[in-house]
Amino acid sequence: MDGQGEEGLASKGSRTGSGNGSAGAEAQPRRLYFYPFFLTFIIMFVVWVFLSGKFDPFHMSLGLVSCAIVSYLSADLLFPSRVTKGAFGQWLRFVKYIPWLLIQIVKASLHVTYLVFHPRMMDLIDPRIIKFRSKLTSDLALVTFANSITLTPGTITVYVSVDGDFKVHAIDKASGDPLPGEMEAKISKTFGEV
């Protein structure tokens, strides 16, 4: 996507700028460069403490050193573009989206289980491929949408293009009909798209 490429270039430019000196004009890019590093470091360290479960100084210092190295190497992998102000709110909205998705998964799972155990299953199912065009634009929103479709039983994403063309395999008419509909609306709200 063009917009993201430009952003990547811009952040690269600011990084080389931040290495040169610490004049007042360059305080802003420097802060933007260190912010992802510390965020990555904190996430890494929380995961380390979680997984190790040991709190003695030896293991903690091992964790500190390795987390520092890893987040130095991969800070721009986890946060490829500059962190914008809306990122935190976006995470909050994403967390709010998960329970709704879980409810949809349970409802659709019950439907598919009903189909599986039905004696005349072959008459009930009617597999089809649905094509539609999504309004979503950003990569992350499209990936979330595709994975959400695949997670709800009865529908599998077969193909997604960068422009938002979807091909979805649905097990019967009832599973495929609600798409894109409510799920797309929820996701476009989550990622702040119109």
């Binding site: 979680f50 997984l51 479960g53 998964i105 349970v106 659709a108 799972s109 598919v112 289980t113 189909l115 599986v116 155990f117 299953m121 072959m122 199912i125 009617d126 597999p127 089809r128 491929i129 595709a146 994975n147 695949t150 997670l151 709800t152 039983p153 009865g154 599998i156 994403t157 077969v158 193909y159 395999h169 097990i171």
Partner: protein, 107 residues
């Protein structure tokens, strides 16, 4: 508490069973992936919640960490399972396998 754990476990096993029978009963490659990829995910979610609750029986920092790790497994499967399903479907499409439609012979 034990009642809740047993209920969750049985609900999980119910969906696992549905997934296994669905793989056998559905007519073709694509429709078999529906129970294979997704009912298993829900079954895993329910049974892992049951295990995490059961593990909290003796409440201490160690058991909380173990339960948190169990939940992390669920999160990982929720990310990995649709991706893997999508990869399998994509392989089928690339190999030129058409989806089964109503009225055809079982494959």
């Amino acid at each position: 508490m034990d009642v809740v754990v047993v209920l969750f476990l049985f609900a999980g096993l119910f969906f696992f069973t549905g997934g296994a029978i669905g793989i056998l009963r559905f007519p073709d490659f694509y429709s078999r992936l529906h129970p294979a990829g997704k009912l298993d995910t829900l079954g895993l979610l329910l049974s892992m919640i049951a295990l995490a609750l059961f593990n909290l029986h003796h409440f201490s920092l160690g058991t909380v960490l173990t339960s948190a790790k169990i939940i992390i497994i669920v999160v990982f499967v929720f990310l990995a399972s649709p991706t893997a399903t999508h990869a399998i479907v994509d392989a089928g499409v690339r190999a030129g396998l058409g989806p089964w439609t109503k009225g055809e012979q079982r494959r």
